[in-house]
């Protein structure tokens, strides 16, 4: 059935179209001229507007901040995170736990692939330090570490950065604030599904 449908649809399309569209001019990927501190500040501001909890810190302060934020919580960690971060927590490595088992964790800690200032978005390409997609979905709190050099200004820059991951067939998750709905009288409620809170550690340059 499907192969007949395929032939029929393709035939109909070919009859309907020229097959010789004008060449598409793709504008060059914009390169930001703004100082990186400004872009970082914009990212922090916009992410916070999406009700992410944003903290800026130096790299050396990550373990302490993690310990403080996640004290007493069972934290799941994907492979690829620095040992010092894991040591600061009651952490369990991801070893392929079932979805039901994942519900027993209160938080997950990851890094990201790129962050986009203009939209306050972090993008996970689920490479090292980011884990399977379900890890950042089932536990109620997601803590994500974003380094200053990972923050780009615009969506097209972010998309360009992700080309390699996508070409390699890796999935992506774009996250702008915690899960939210506005379905009931347009009033925004966080955490319908997915994590109820998103904590972003923005690591500033220096040291």
């Amino acid at each position: 059935m499907s192969s007949e449908a395929r032939l029929e649809i393709l035939t109909r399309i070919n009859r309907a179209t020229s097959g010789h569209p004008p060449a598409l001019e793709r504008p060059p990927i914009p390169t930001s001229t703004r100082p990186s501190a400004e872009i970082l500040a914009q990212f922090a501001e916009y992410a916070a507007e999406y009700r992410a909890h944003v903290q800026q810190m130096a790299q050396a302060d990550i373990p302490e901040a993690l310990a403080k934020l996640l004290a007493g919580k069972r934290v799941l960690v994907p492979e690829g995170l620095p040992a010092a971060w894991r040591a600061a927590l009651d952490s369990t490595p991801d070893n392929g736990q079932s979805h039901a088992e994942l519900t027993h964790f209160q938080a997950v800690l990851t890094t990201c692939a790129v962050a986009i200032a203009e939209t306050g978005t972090v993008v996970l390409d689920h490479g090292s330090g980011q884990g399977r997609r379900t890890l950042t979905l089932i536990p109620d709190q997601h803590v994500c570490v974003v380094f200053w050099h990972q923050i780009v200004e615009s969506v097209p820059e972010g998309v360009a950065t992700l080309q390699e991951a996508v070409t390699a067939g890796r999935p992506l998750t774009w996250i702008s604030g915690p899960s939210a709905t506005s379905d009931i009288e347009l009033s925004r409620v966080e955490g319908v599904h997915g994590p109820r809170s998103l904590n972003l550690f923005i690591i500033t340059p220096g040291d």
């Binding site: 179209t17 998309v159 992506l172 379905d183 347009l186």
Partner: protein, 474 residues
Amino acid sequence: MSAGGIRPSQPFPDAARETLQDAQMRRNLRHATTTIREKRLQAVAELPYWEDLRTQGAAIKDVVLDNLAEHLLTLEASVKRLGGHVHWAQNAEEAQRLVADLVAAHGVSEVIKVKSISTDEIELNAALEARGIHATETDLAELIVQLAEDRPSHILVPAIHKNRAEIRELFRRKLGAQLLTDDPKVLAEAARVYLREKFLATKVAISGANFAIADTGTVCIVESEGNGRMCLTLPEVLISVMGIEKVLPTWPDIAPFMQLLPRSSTAERMNPYTSFWSGVTPGDGPQEFHLILLDNGRTDVLADAVGRETLRCIRCSACLNVCPVYERTGGHAYGSVYPGPIGAILTPQLLQLDDANANSLPWASSLCGACYDACPVKINIPEILIYLRGQITPHKTPNVESIAMKTAAWIFNESYRFEGAIKLARTGQGPLVQHGAVRALPGMLGGWTSSRNLPPFPPQSFRELWRKEEQREQ
């Protein structure tokens, strides 16, 4: 959306007369559209290059449409290369059967669904039900609509016609939830508890697709709640139904759309969650993926040089929120899963201009042009409306004249008018009106008056009346 299909059960004027009675719905709808409208203007104003983005979005879509076969073949090859399966469906029945067969092959009778207008278009839920398969909608609004056995009224916020008290009552009745208040937080929590169990236990999920990238085989779902992510990653099997027009050539082409869609749709800089996946990823997410490419009238639209740009639509619903007719009548009046201005041009075209009820839709407009200004991919909706009016010939729809005249009468009574043309007509109304009737309309409306008279135009402009009306209802 849960129920649906695209065949209106009655002509627009009749349906609109019914929905206009519903004051509650109108208030809810007005609240929604005004809020989103204002937010959207802000979100758009933040990007100084918004107009360039629109141009770019339209250009990419046009190039895709003009070489659609090649892009679909590339997409098919890419998805297969990455371990997915691709199927083609010419119409709703074929798509229904494909999905039902796939579900049945896994021996399950329960599936979960991500909100998807293409599956509503093909009336998938009912078709599955007929095969003994129950599909649970997981988007909060869709769940509300489904539990209420109602129809969605808006592409984006399908339950916008329901207020919190109604929803509380519904959840109490249908989910047996103990709800102390009707605070949206409490209501959302009840849905979370109910659905979480489904997410963890259900083996097969069904979704639509917002975009698919041909050269990388990457499919994309844009959402807010995370129910999409749940459906797309927890089940073992994922079936996605996608209109053939949703393909994009290369990965960088997604960029303008990820800027255009959220700002036009929910008026946000970005929606909370977007998922991209390419075929199957070992050890992560569903290990079986099926992509169903749906025609269902789209190749007919493609074959029409004027109507074709309708297929650029990215279903953002911006045109609904700015449409004065939609704001008054609500989505149900359009009788199709595609309401508002886009519905007025898409629905009759998908039905090959063969459906008398759908053929009344191109008259459900004031031609004020607001939809065109709002559309992120620059679909010239007013132009297509006028074009379709010309295409809808009496032999296809014997009663079209009466429908058109009824619509016109209704529109004139309600003071919605063909604003562009009428502005002109009103200033020059004197010479047009003879013996208390309009004998000849100028320009494109001339055809109407060549064989009949129209009542004269109301003395007030649409905007004047509108403002008054607004004050009255507040």
